[in-house]
């Protein structure tokens, strides 16, 4: 096998191993979605009775949004690992080895994808436990997982980009917090687009978080608009590629400054 496959695998293995040594980390990342699901699920139980809501139950409606937000947060922290590696000199050691920069990034993204998938499966399981129903086909579930993963890749790459450029953990934390909540509220994560004000609907059309959530609403329901799903998966793919490309380039600016 060539190094284009092997190097990312070795890098991903490093992160997975570190994660397996602290499984409680996964548990901690799930505390927030569980609170969203249980608390919001109870709090807004009755909004489904509003005319125009059109979903079975609020938990069913809320699940895609919670999954997407969880993926956003845990991908957003991705750059923190880079900063630790830079501070410790581990990054320099990788850059002095005959390894491509995109292999370093790809390995870490593979790990983020695995983490996102595990978290998503757990959240889906929890939602089903508390009464959510997903009537769509299995293919719909796959499509939504793909959307979540693509958005996660875009977010992780963006976080790595910030880390490589600005090299401060505080900055990464600030940027993630600044992005995740507003982008989530400017989407149909909590409220169907039909019930949102016009300006939010207009903004949401350009909001990648909304693309992923809408794919979820579409793909998990029985009457899926496949054209809509495919288009938005396409947008997310383009976003993920651009974001990953920019992060790879950021290695150069990091190297100029060492």
């Amino acid at each position: 096998m060539s190094s284009t496959v092997l190097h990312p695998t070795y890098i991903a293995t490093r992160y997975v191993r570190a994660l397996l040594r602290q499984p409680y980390y996964v548990a901690v990342t799930l505390v927030q979605p569980v609170i969203w699901l249980l608390l919001f699920g109870q709090l807004f139980k009755n909004v489904t009775q509003l005319p125009g809501f059109g979903a079975d139950g609020y938990i069913t409606f809320l699940t895609p949004g919670v999954m997407v937000m969880t993926a956003l947060y845990s991908s957003g922290w991705s750059g923190m690992g880079y900063i630790i590696d830079m501070d410790r000199g581990v990054m320099d050691r990788f850059l002095v080895a005959p390894v491509r920069r995109n292999s370093l990034l790809a390995g870490q993204l593979v790990y983020q994808v695995l983490l996102t998938l595990v978290q998503s499966l757990i959240i889906i399981g929890l939602s089903l436990l508390v009464g959510a129903r997903f009537d769509g086909p299995v293919l719909g579930m796959i499509a939504f997982f793909t959307a979540t993963v693509l958005l996660g890749i875009a977010m992780a790459s963006f976080s790595n980009l910030i880390a490589l450029q600005l090299r401060k953990q505080e900055t990464v934390i600030a940027v993630v917090n600044l992005l995740v909540l507003p982008l989530s509220f400017l989407s149909s994560a909590f409220m169907p687009a039909a019930l949102a004000p016009n300006w939010i609907r207009a903004v949401a059309g350009f909001n990648p978080v909304n693309w992923a959530v809408e794919v979820g609403h579409q793909a998990l329901a029985a009457d899926t608009d496949w054209r809509f799903v495919l288009y938005h998966l396409g947008y997310l793919l383009v976003l993920a590629i651009i974001s990953a490309g920019l992060a790879t380039r950021a290695f150069r600016s990091y190297q100029r400054s060492v």
């Binding site: 490093r14 570190a18 410790r88 000199g89 080895a97 005959p98 060492v258």
Partner: protein
């Protein structure tokens, strides 16, 4: 790269290194960081294959920057450099395959075990399977880490981490090794041990080593050639012996009882004529170079006494690299060392 079966030697250089006279060559390399921090202003030197070259200078002199450029981590603004004939700017990939780099920081993944750190490092250099497993075990034994090899590096002591760090730089059997401050922060015993290892790699295994240090005794002890670097430029270069023999005679040092105006001291010494050279007064420490220390000391003490200046102690020393540094940089090493680290 040589991936053959290892003999007793921990590093076996490939044939290329034996033929290459100049393992490292730097020509007029310059680097300015953003904010106009001038790190290097045109550095040139050559390191012969199989030798140890010491870059000596205070923190902030540009040693680490030089190493970062030669290891392809950083790009120079001007100048050229080659490692085993490969251009560090145009052929970074080839350079990376033949070098090992141990940075000033201990670059170990603390969440992985010692063995996992070594194996990942080997993987990145294209090693795999039994060969890599054997190599990792061999290095763990060699550095006395065998018992700790399957423990998370977080549990290692500072000395153990440093050893693991150096071992990681050697996994892929590099032909040229860059050691940035290899013994900074080590206790004397660990330091002596590291010195023995470094000498061994050079003398027995034929590895070319460039090391930076701000310890004069380290450069004196280990390096075949030394370049003294200050404010981004080389101020002196040669074998430690050559550098020391440039200085004629002994160094004398007199500790004065209390702070004295420079003029008073110099006026007192004036009557001794040209017998005293390179006189400096650094707070209460008077230093000078003389042909014979044994003869000069009584005379110096006598004139000081006459001028009412009391001396607490007087010493005579054969020239050391410290004196060489003092002469070229014009201030004592420890003072220059207070500069900002880079």
């Amino acid at each position: 790269m040589n991936r053959g079966q290892s003999t007793n030697a921990i590093i076996r250089p490939g044939p290329a290194v034996l033929q290459a006279e100049r393992a490292i060559q730097a020509r007029d390399i310059a680097k300015t960081y953003t904010g106009n921090v001038r790190a290097l202003q045109g550095l040139s030197f050559t390191v012969k294959a199989g030798t140890i070259f010491g870059l000596l200078g205070p923190n902030g002199a540009g040693k680490s920057t030089t190493v970062k450029i030669l290891t392809t981590l950083s790009r120079p603004d001007a100048g050229e450099a080659w490692v085993l004939g490969f251009d560090v700017i145009r052929q970074p990939e080839q350079v990376r395959r033949v070098i090992g780099y141990v940075s000033q920081k201990t670059a170990v993944d603390l969440e992985a075990t010692g063995r996992e750190n070594l194996v990942l490092q080997g993987h990145l250099y294209g090693m795999a399977g039994n060969e890599l497993r054997r190599r990792a075990s061999e290095l763990l034994d060699r550095f006395g880490l065998a018992d700790a090899s399957d423990r998370i590096a977080q549990t290692y002591s500072g000395g153990m981490l440093r050893k693991l760090d150096v071992a990681m730089g050697l996994v892929h059997r590099p032909q040229v090794l860059f050691l940035d401050e290899p013994t900074a922060g080590l206790d004397p015993e660990a330091r002596a041990e590291m010195w023995r290892e470094i000498s061994h790699w050079s003398r027995e295994d034929g590895l070319t080593i460039l090391l930076t240090t701000h310890y004069l005794d380290e450069a004196d002890h280990l390096a075949d050639r030394v370049a003294i670097i200050d404010a981004g430029a080389i101020v002196a270069e040669g074998t430690p012996e050559e550098l020391k023999s440039e200085l004629r005679g002994d160094a004398i040092q007199v500790e004065l009882n209390d702070l004295q105006p420079k003029e008073t001291v110099l006026a007192a010494l004036y009557q001794l004529g040209d017998g005293l050279r390179e006189v400096t007064l650094d707070r209460r420490t008077l230093r000078a170079r003389v042909d014979s220390g044994a003869h000069a000391i009584p005379a110096v003490l006598a004139v000081l006494e006459t001028a009412g200046i009391t001396a607490l102690a007087a010493t005579v020393a054969r020239p050391s690299l410290d004196d060489v540094y003092l002469r070229h940089v014009g201030r004592a090493f420890n003072d220059a060392d207070k500069g900002e680290a880079r």
